[in-house]
Amino acid sequence: MSGKEFFVNRYEMLGWKYEEVALKPAIRINSMNAKEEEVVKRLQSLGVKLEKIPFLEKGYRVSHSEFSVGATTEYLLGYYSIQEAASQIPATLFTDLKDKIVLDACAAPGSKTVQLADLMKNTGAIIALDVKLHRLNALSNQLERCHVKNAIVYNLDARQASKLEMKFDCILLDVPCSGNFSTDKEWFNRRTIRDVEENARRQKEILREAAKVLKDDGEIVYSTCSLEPEENELNIDWAVKNLGFHVEKINCYGEPSPTKIFGKTLDSQIENCRRIWPGKTQGFFVCKLKKDVWV
């Protein structure tokens, strides 16, 4: 069970008609390091054409540039990060990050870790984990370049986060996933339903561990760049039924997730998740979870 036809049929069953997409690069201004209007002005003076992304506070699309926006002095000074538009959403969904203890459970290469630090104005603490040692170098470079001061990085699997013996106010679970065709031309040739199921299994293990280390009044934001329901709605339905979470309403770009998937009826809360089909952004899924409180 693989190939373009197989997956495209699944998307149609979920209500989306397949279309080719051509994504423009996007940047996010790091306001802890520079004023937004000054960075925009400086990039424009270099001939970079930027379009404000309407659903993001600090996000811009690069509609034209004669050179890589990853090679300017402003980039090297950490004034902005190159970050796909949809992936700028998750970190913004936490209610309040200032002075909080935050877990970024699958942090490398670090663009969301930097975004968290920016939203936190370098207060509190971010505990950033990644299981792959070589990816920690990329993460560390991002932290140094962007002058992040409130992060501690560990080479640790998110499924072992309880080894840290800490409880967190906020947990970002931008979990490893199967990805999607809009950022990978070979996606349909490379991926099978087995990969999807294997990723979904690992994501459940990460969710289970996150439930252990989340404070009772804490928040989890879960996201993937997968379009496959096994890694998204079905996993969250499982978390609601097995881990004592409920899905909070969120106000962000994307459409409400379906609650009937491949003949299975999911918990009605699943419609609070947001599914983003490729088009203006890459494909994405995001939701916010809180623990059920029993009085």
């Binding site: 090679a71 002095t73 090297l76 505990i127 920690l136 409130n150 080479n155």
Partner: protein
């Protein structure tokens, strides 16, 4: 940390760091804050502000440390737009590209390199007394921000 203090002093600068907040991981040095100090475990990979590393008895500063130094009194050389670009591409600085000098102009001294906005781009070594030359290579590039891009290339 003697090696760091000695490095900073080569710029005619000084820096005061709270010893209790310094953390060392193998050959790398970090500056924590009180909150991170309480939370950090001994197996950390990176924490707080990265200051630099020691290799073969030599100190290699981070760009965070250079930025911290640039906020204080230190040897500083301001360069024009063209020299800025060449410098972050790893090139040396010509006398013609220098706009302004603060501190030492003496051959052999270290200086921070800043652009027109006063942003620190890295550091270099003064090759010839800046008072005495009118053109030619004046500053040897030792470390520049373009290093972030060169590191990325090595990683992937």
């Amino acid at each position: 940390m003697k090696i760091l203090r000695e490095f900073v002093s080569r710029f005619g600068a000084s820096i005061s760091l709270n010893k209790n907040l310094l953390a060392k991981k193998e050959n790398r040095y970090f500056l924590l804050n009180e909150k991170l100090k309480k939370l950090v475990g001994k197996n950390f990979f990176y924490a707080g502000v990265y200051l630099g590393k020691v290799k073969n008895g030599k100190f290699f500063p981070s760009f965070n440390l250079l930025s911290m130094m640039a906020e204080k009194r230190a040897n500083k050389i301001f360069v024009d737009k063209r020299s800025e670009w060449l410098f972050i591409c790893g090139r040396d600085i010509f006398k013609q590209g220098i706009i302004r000098v603060i501190g030492s102009k003496r051959k052999g001294d270290y200086a921070l390199i800043l652009n027109d906005y006063g942003e620190c781009l890295g550091f270099g070594k003064i090759l010839r007394n800046l008072d005495k030359i009118v053109e030619g290579v004046a500053i040897k590039n030792i470390s520049d921000l373009g290093d972030f891009l060169r590191r990325e290339k090595h990683q992937f």
